[in-house]
């Protein structure tokens, strides 16, 4: 990512936007030793207001969510329609596996916990704790079922991550496990078990502590939510 210093703009803009016709002419050569004379006893204009260094924040990219509001997940509320078609195309180009995940009913950029997992998901509209949609996840006895998302952790400055999720138990075993794993691997780096027994939407908080030195800076990992459950009619709803 290349940026020019903002205060060099006049020349930088001239050169950055240069066409074949632009001309730069030296009107006075740079001397071998330049001179700068400051007379602090003579004012040169009115007081500069501090507000000249005001700024603004635009809800674009990672500016607000996952920026000012520190976070690791994209689309944590499992919504649909978050991105327009060109952005979706970019996401699929960067992560082709998301196409199959989408076919299984998972919102972008969530993926099934294990590759080859069948359709264990059902998006539900109008029944969620804090958003428009929730996701029913139907477990299989003895098999890991859940969802995961690729994340990048700022391990160079913290190994401790706090999170929360809303869940509603439907049937079967009520346990959920949230974890941080090596990317595309079953190797768990940190995990927390949640007893999500409530049949009402309930917020559950957790903390994940990464072990020192296991995940390197700039290396991707998976954040995963795994349900316990049995075939059909049983599962958990997450939003």
């Amino acid at each position: 990512m290349k940026w020019t210093a903002g205060f060099l703009v006049p020349l930088a803009v001239s050169l950055a936007g240069i066409s074949a016709q632009a001309q730069i002419t030296v009107t006075k050569p740079i001397p071998s030793v330049a001179t700068i004379r400051v007379d602090a006893g003579k004012a040169a204009g009115t007081v500069i207001p501090r507000t000249i260094f005001g700024s603004f924040l635009e809800p674009i990219g990672n500016s607000t969510y996952n920026g000012l509001w520190a976070g690791l997940l994209e689309n944590p509320s499992l919504e649909a329609g978050m991105w327009d078609a060109p952005h979706v195309a970019e996401m699929l180009k960067a992560h082709p596996d998301l196409a199959r995940a989408s076919q299984l009913g998972l919102p972008l950029p969530w993926e099934p916990l294990t590759a080859g997992q069948g359709n264990r998901y059902e998006p539900v509209y109008g029944n969620a704790a804090n958003s428009w949609r929730s996701l029913v996840v139907i477990g299989i006895p003895g098999q890991p079922v859940g969802i995961r998302q690729e994340i990048y952790s700022p391990v160079e400055r913290t190994l401790s991550y706090k999170g929360s999720l809303y869940a509603r138990h439907i049937s079967g075993p009520a346990g959920l496990t949230v974890s941080l794993r090596m990317r595309n691997s079953a190797e768990v780096l940190a995990s927390a078990h949640i007893d999500a027994a409530s049949t009402d939407w309930t917020k559950y908080s957790f903390t994940l502590e990464l072990p020192q030195g296991r995940l390197h800076r700039l290396a991707p990992a998976d954040f995963a939510v795994e349900v316990q459950g049995e075939l059909t009619r049983r599962g958990s709803s997450i939003c």
């Binding site: 020349l11 003579k42 207001p49 990672n62 990048y152 700039l218």
Partner: protein
């Protein structure tokens, strides 16, 4: 700063992303423009004073659409301002030359300074250099100190650089 009476905000880009603070692969980093903004914004220099420079100049014809012609732009451009109390004088110096480091003799009248000037310089080998998640600190301000003798400082401004020189009033 020089045009503050007609320009109410110095930087119209968002503080996050654009010319500000970025995040990629979990690594937060600032664009060089962010550091320039920070150098200026934290200087608290509000009372501009007179400055004359003699560092050469250039003109542009048929440049970018919004500002096609620029006459006699100084290579070494300096704005100087006192803080609210008048006890600190700050020089904001831009060397617009892409290739030439400019040595300069700085003389200050009307302000009895201590014997040292604090200097912060933002520069890189090439104007196109920036920061990213791999090297988040590739282009960041570098602190140094210059000696002040009888109100004079000698400093070499690197090409394509932004430098902030701070002088504190002597207690005498």
């Amino acid at each position: 700063m020089r045009n503050h009476e007609v320009v109410p905000v110095a930087d119209m880009t968002g503080i996050m992303e654009f010319a500000g603070i970025w995040k990629a692969r979990g690594q937060v980093f600032g664009a060089p423009g962010y550091y320039v903004f920070k150098m200026y914004a934290t200087a608290h220099a509000t009372r501009p004073v007179r400055v004359e420079t003699n560092g050469g100049s250039y003109s542009v014809k048929r440049g970018v659409t919004r500002l096609p012609d620029i006459e006699n732009a100084p290579y070494l451009d300096v704005v100087a301002a006192l803080d609210k109390s008048g006890d600190r004088l700050t020089l904001f110096c831009v060397n617009r030359s892409l290739h030439t480091d400019i040595p300069a003799d700085v003389s200050v009248d009307g302000f009895a300074s201590t014997g040292t000037a604090k200097v912060q310089t933002l520069a890189a080998a090439y104007l196109s250099e920036g920061n990213d998640e791999v090297d988040p600190h590739r282009v960041t301000p570098v602190d140094s100190v210059d000696k002040v003798e009888a109100g004079k400082v000698h400093h070499t401004f690197p090409h394509a650089s932004v430098t902030v020189i701070t002088l504190d009033r002597s207690a005498q």
